[in-house]
């Protein structure tokens, strides 16, 4: 007989029938009825109406029945808080039952009933259970403290439960220790300042002892807790490492990864001269390799972590290339990760093998995988100079296959190879040009155009080729347009006599017919350069480009160090710090690797970065699209970007580079508030350009920057006229129009409420939905007298930015609910961003940089400001706490 019979009752009057059965005198019938109730609950039916009847069954000596009733309580107590009190007595009684199984069950369940009133009654039983003679009850009570803390932290502190929990770390039973550690870690995580886990050498020693005895899960709790400890010197670090390494032989992959985390972190403190350091490095490789034999999901976590580990300590896995070779039946997500690691491990020693593999992959059928394999070949060419020629010939072979996406991908990477090895492989250009017509992806088109422009002097029909692209100029994507503009200007500078017409054509397309400010600005700049000083133009446009460096997609070192501290967790899988995806973790201190101590190394170079590795060992990071110099040299294409998870980090790197570099001098002062730029109703003064190559209206580059710089300092900012937000038709006669304004630091929403109905309106209230910047009413909506028919009232509602935050699309979307005596009405409106900008937007450079780095990538939003001829800057609006800063993200010519 199976339980499935309990699901079959679907007739009407079921609840009534169940009620009768629950109140039956017969034990067996009661139990059957409870099972039916649970079955209904399982399939999602609402059986909360039976609450009192089910609770009545709680007092039973039948354990199975009791468990079911408890289960019911956990599910419905929250919706029936008053009746849940009825259960308290039985709970308290059960906590004193002679059977430890029942005591534990009671304390476990009580913690799961998230009803405030009940928690008070929980304290005494919990106190007893924490001191219970049976370890099974104690280990359950330990977890219950964490549950209770989650519901009412103050209560837990007042009752002294935290101290009792700390005492349990010294419990004689390993499982109790493990759960106490888990509970304390959980509490400490949500209250980082509480200093709960004041780990010291003594408590660490206890934990390390318990590590040998507790279950696999307990070992993970303890290892994760150890990873937060900061040893006082390298000797202590080494002794902890020595006691943690045996865990690398555990069959559970999660235990292994948590042990790897502790070792990777504490290794940071060990001197590289130490014999032990080398031993430890050697010990890490085999378990990491073995993780690749685990279940695919665990392989995936392992690979994402190995990706971090090979960036931090490439020496660990440098001889293990083969294990990352892709197998036919690997899931695609494993294949892609393996490919990424293969490129990271590629070196002169193994490049032949790697290339053979990549070529094999490039002829597979999975499009995403094939594309990535082709890109990988290009990255190998850039990374391992000796192999460049072979890579190029491999790519040419692939182009011959004429498989469309392979060809396009190959052209994109060949462009990068040209950047790395200029004037070396031009012989292939002819082959590339044969495929011109088949290119339909913007990135490939842009790459091809770049190549034609860059080598225009060697391509006889370069002008024809570029002209052919020009026909559909306005249908191209921005990156192709920008590239085409630049390529034709280059061509003109190289072959001025034949191409004057072409360059005029492209300049006019870019400046007059386009409403893309990036494109227009770049057009104007070229135009000015060409018309004022062609020699200077040549120097700028055809300047020697900086070589691109070998490694791509590297994670920025401080982020990498932080992620190493999070090995095995979601952060390590996303390659993002927890603050980027966990709500309420903004205030939490970023984890960082411990500084190296006591070693000769640090004595020699006191200024060395905390990461400890000498700079020469760290491969240089390719400046990505944010690089000013790169922009001027028209390298919009950026380096190859592999998977979506990595792409975000490269954007951040760009940002950091940008701000550390030369741009800040250009943006000298008024980086801050630039209200007018975000303002609405802005009309663009049309800059009229002469049709021929005459000089444009004003001076040189400087003007442009002055212009951008001067926008920022208005005090009383622009206020758009009121528009109707809520038409009367949609709100039973209530019409609302309004606008936003900012006056001396205060934001307000200016509203006009009109009663177009026949009845009097009163009891007005307003509420905002969560929004991107936490905009919220600072005071209630105060309309003192009732609003008579046809009467209008004007009101200014003060706003602040301390409300809950949720990213909206568009970013400045605000959803508003207005209530009156008739109904609740909803509308949404867009607010101009300038109301958020603080007037004193000035910030010290250091502070600005620090603030910028604190902002997780997710919080960066970009939007283009249309019809704004003033500035060439695009704006990234970011929100460190509640202070808004306007940060020009980068110029983009």
């Amino acid at each position: 007989m199976t339980d499935s019979k309990y699901f079959t009752t679907t007739k009407k009057g079921e609840i009534f029938e169940l009620k009768a059965e629950l109140n039956s005198d017969k034990k067996e019938k009661k139990k059957e009825a409870v099972k039916k109730v649970i079955a209904s609950m399982t399939v999602g039916k609402d059986v909360s109406a039976l609450f009192p009847d089910v609770v009545n069954c709680m007092q039973t000596d039948n354990l199975e029945l009791k468990k079911l009733v408890y289960l019911y309580l956990m599910n419905y107590a929250k919706s029936q808080p008053d009746m849940a009190i009825m259960a308290v007595n039985t709970f308290v009684k059960d906590c004193e039952d002679p059977n430890p199984l029942i005591r534990a069950l009671a304390v476990r369940t009580m913690g799961c009933i998230r009803v405030d009133k009940i928690t008070e009654y929980l304290c005494e039983p919990l106190r007893k259970c924490l001191k219970d003679e049976d370890p099974y009850v104690r280990k359950t009570a330990a977890v219950c403290v964490a549950k209770l803390h989650d519901i009412n932290a103050q209560l837990v502190e007042d009752q002294g439960f935290l101290d009792t929990l700390k005492d349990l770390i010294s419990d004689s039973n390993p499982m109790v220790v493990a759960n106490a550690v888990a509970a304390l870690s959980e509490i400490a995580e949500s209250h980082p300042s509480s200093n709960l886990l004041d780990l010291n050498p003594q408590s660490i020693n206890k934990l390390l002892t318990a590590l040998n005895e507790c279950t696999e899960w307990g070992q993970i709790f303890i290892l994760d807790c150890l990873a937060n400890y900061m040893p006082k010197d390298d000797r202590e670090a080494q002794s902890i490492c020595e006691r943690v390494t045996p865990r690398l032989s555990h069959a559970n992959s999660a235990v292994v990864l948590s042990a790897v985390k502790v070792l990777m972190k504490f290794m940071e403190m060990l001197s590289k001269d130490l014999d032990y350091y080398g031993t430890l490095l050697k010990k890490l490789a085999p378990p990491l390799v073995t993780l690749l034999s685990a279940e695919p999901e665990l392989q995936y976590v392992a690979l994402r972590n190995i990706n971090l580990i090979v960036q931090k300590r490439p020496e660990i896995l440098k001889h293990e290339m083969k294990v990352f070779f892709v197998k036919y039946n690997d899931p695609i997500y494993v294949k892609l990760e393996k490919l990424d690691i293969m490129i990271r491990l590629a070196s002169q020693a193994n490049i032949a093998q790697v290339l053979a593999e990549l070529k094999e992959y490039a002829t597979e059928v999975d499009v995403d995988f094939v594309r990535k394999a082709v890109r990988a070949i290009g990255r190998c060419a850039i990374k391992v100079e000796q192999s460049a020629e072979r890579c190029v010939s491999t790519l040419l072979d692939l182009i011959q296959t004429k498989v469309n996406y392979v060809v396009q991908e190959a052209i994109v990477v060949i462009k990068d190879i040209f950047r790395k090895y200029p004037n070396k492989y031009e012989s292939v250009i002819a082959t590339l040009c044969e495929n011109l017509d088949s290119l339909d992806e913007p990135e490939a088109r842009a790459a091809m155009i770049w190549i034609v422009g860059e080598y225009a002097e060697r391509i006889d029909n370069a002008d024809e080729l570029l002209e052919s692209f020009l026909e559909g100029f306005h249908d191209e994507s921005t990156q192709v347009q920008l590239q085409l503009l630049t390529a034709i200007v280059k061509l003109f500078l190289k072959k001025p006599t034949e191409t004057q017409e072409l360059v005029q054509q492209v300049l006019s397309l870019a400046t007059q017919d386009s409403d893309n400010p990036d494109l227009r600005d770049r057009g104007y700049i070229y135009w000015r350069l060409l018309s004022t000083d062609p020699v200077a133009a040549k120097e700028v446009v055809l300047a020697e480009k900086p070589l691109i460096s070998e490694e791509t997609d590297l994670i920025e070192p401080t982020l990498l160090d932080e992620l190493i501290c999070y090995i095995g967790t979601l952060a390590s899988v996303y390659h993002k710090p927890p603050s980027a995806f966990v709500e309420g973790s903004r205030g939490i201190v970023h984890k960082s690797l411990p500084p190296r101590t006591g070693s000769s190394e640090s004595a020699e170079s006191p200024d060395a970065a905390p990461s400890g590795a000498p700079p020469s060992e760290q491969p240089a990071v390719i400046p990505t699209q944010g690089d000013l110099l790169g922009d001027l040299l028209n390298l919009d294409l950026g380096p190859p970007v592999s998977g979506p998870p990595v792409a975000t980090t490269s954007v951040q790197m760009g940002a950091v580079d940008l701000l550390g570099g030369g741009l800040d001098s250009l943006l000298r002062s008024d980086v801050g508030g630039s209200p007018a730029m975000g303002g609405t109703g802005f009309t663009a003064p049309s800059a009229v350009m002469p049709a021929n190559l005459g000089p444009p209206p004003s001076g040189g580059l400087g003007d442009l920057f002055d212009l951008a710089g001067g926008v920022g300092t208005l005090s009383g900012s622009h206020v758009a006229p009121k528009t109707v937000w809520l038409p009367a038709m949609k709100a039973k006669g209530l019409e609302i129009s309004g606008t936003f304004s900012r006056q001396v630091g205060a934001i307000s929403m200016d509203l006009l409420l009109t009663n177009k109905a026949l009845q009097v309106m009163s009891d007005f209230a307003i509420q905002f939905n969560r929004n991107s910047f936490g905009l919220a009413p600072a005071a209630p909506l105060q309309i003192h007298a009732p609003l008579a028919p046809n009467q209008t009232v004007e009101i200014s509602l003060p706003l602040n930015t301390v409300g809950s935050v949720m990213k909206m699309d568009p970013l400045n979307n605000l959803q508003v609910a207005v209530k009156n005596n008739i109904d609740v009405f909803y509308f949404s409106t867009l607010y101009p961003l300038h109301i958020l900008f603080v007037e004193d937007g000035k910030m010290e450079r250091q502070m600005f940089l620090a603030t910028w780095k604190d902002i997780p990538n997710e919080n960066e939003a970009q939007f283009q400001i249309r019809d704004c001829p003033l500035s060439a800057a695009r704006c990234a609006c970011s929100r460190p706490s509640n202070q808004k800063q306007l940060v020009p993200e980068h110029t983009a010519w």
């Binding site: 339980d3 699901f7 099972k35 649970i38 399982t42 000596d61 354990l63 199975e64 599910n75 059977n99 430890p100 199984l101 049976d134 280990k139 359950t140 977890v143 549950k147 989650d150 039973n173 390993p174 509970a183 995580e189 040998n212 279950t215 696999e216 899960w217 993970i220 006691r243 045996p246 865990r247 032989s249 555990h250 069959a251 559970n252 992959s253 999660a254 990864l257 948590s258 378990p287 390799v289 073995t290 034999s293 279940e295 695919p296 999901e297 665990l298 995936y300 976590v301 294990v323 197998k327 036919y328 093998q353 999975d366 995403d368 095995g568 967790t569 979601l570 899988v573 996303y574 973790s585």
Partner: protein
Amino acid sequence: MSASAVFVLDLKGKPLISRNYKGDVSMAEIDHFMPLLMQKEEEGALTPLLTHGKVHFLWIKHTNLYLVATTMKNANASLVYSFLYKVVEVFSEYFKELEEESIRDNFVVIYELLDELMDFGFPQTTDSKILQEYITQQGNKLETGKSHVPPTVTNAVSWRSEGIRYKKNEVFIDVIESVNLLVNTNGSVLLSEIMGTIKLKVFLSGMPELRLGLNDRMLFELTGRGKNKSVELEDVKFHQCVRLSRFENDRTISFIPPDGDFELMSYRLNTQVKPLIWIESVIEKFSHSRVEIMVKGGKEFLMRAHFGLPSVEKEEVEGRPPIAVRFEIPYFTVSGIQVRYMKIIEKSGYQALPWVRYITQSGDYQLRTQ
């Protein structure tokens, strides 16, 4: 730290059973799971970790079920996946086969198990043999109200209960080596490794102390026995019961075993061995309607196959699946690993017999085709 809730879903994404452990993630969030999974699959960006807003889904698939854990925290992902697989293991041992039907048929005991397996997101007792001592399928057994927690649950030896008795004390040892091989189209061996496992079937009374002796090279070197006839184990993984620090110190494999079947250890060897089975293949496609596959295996076998095909063609390009080989060779290990001894000591002093069996079999044995 870990999962907020755990769901078992059917293939359409409908929850069959669930358990809310922490209450910080709305249980309704699970409705987003299946649409998200389908969308990601469409985009070719499906990973075992999906995100919807602030909620993260960690999922695995087993037969016609999805097991999904939700969290809003920076959870320990490897712990969650390990746990989900453990849940599958426990359920499978309870219900023989874990699938949609068995979930419905056993929902009462599943709720009980979910309550015992994890508490507030922390995995607890996940050893199914021990669980079976106090959570049984026949609820009737418990009616006496006498059931207690087996002390094993919280013991340092949390995998073996006391008081086990056998008339005949025996241990069966299976040494199983799987050969993984990856051969390129041009016939060069890309990867060749041996994954070994040692499985035990234990019928021993009381709380026996076991010591397993292998011809482990590291051990031989430590004890000055030289390299002769020893095997270098590259990476070794042990069952919970093995004292890892002891192994780390002097390479002794000592343990108190669980009762019955379990996997004591696994090891990996990277030593290049001559491929046990070699295959050459020629696949020729003639026009639209005929494929000829010629497979030459080792020295002795030749297979030639013609396929007459209807002249209908698929538009997409075909993949080139490799030739996978399955085989089993009894009484033989590729690595030459040997069980030198198995010492069994129990305080009652009984004599016990160890029986050893060796098998070599194919693991992931792939030869790519042209």
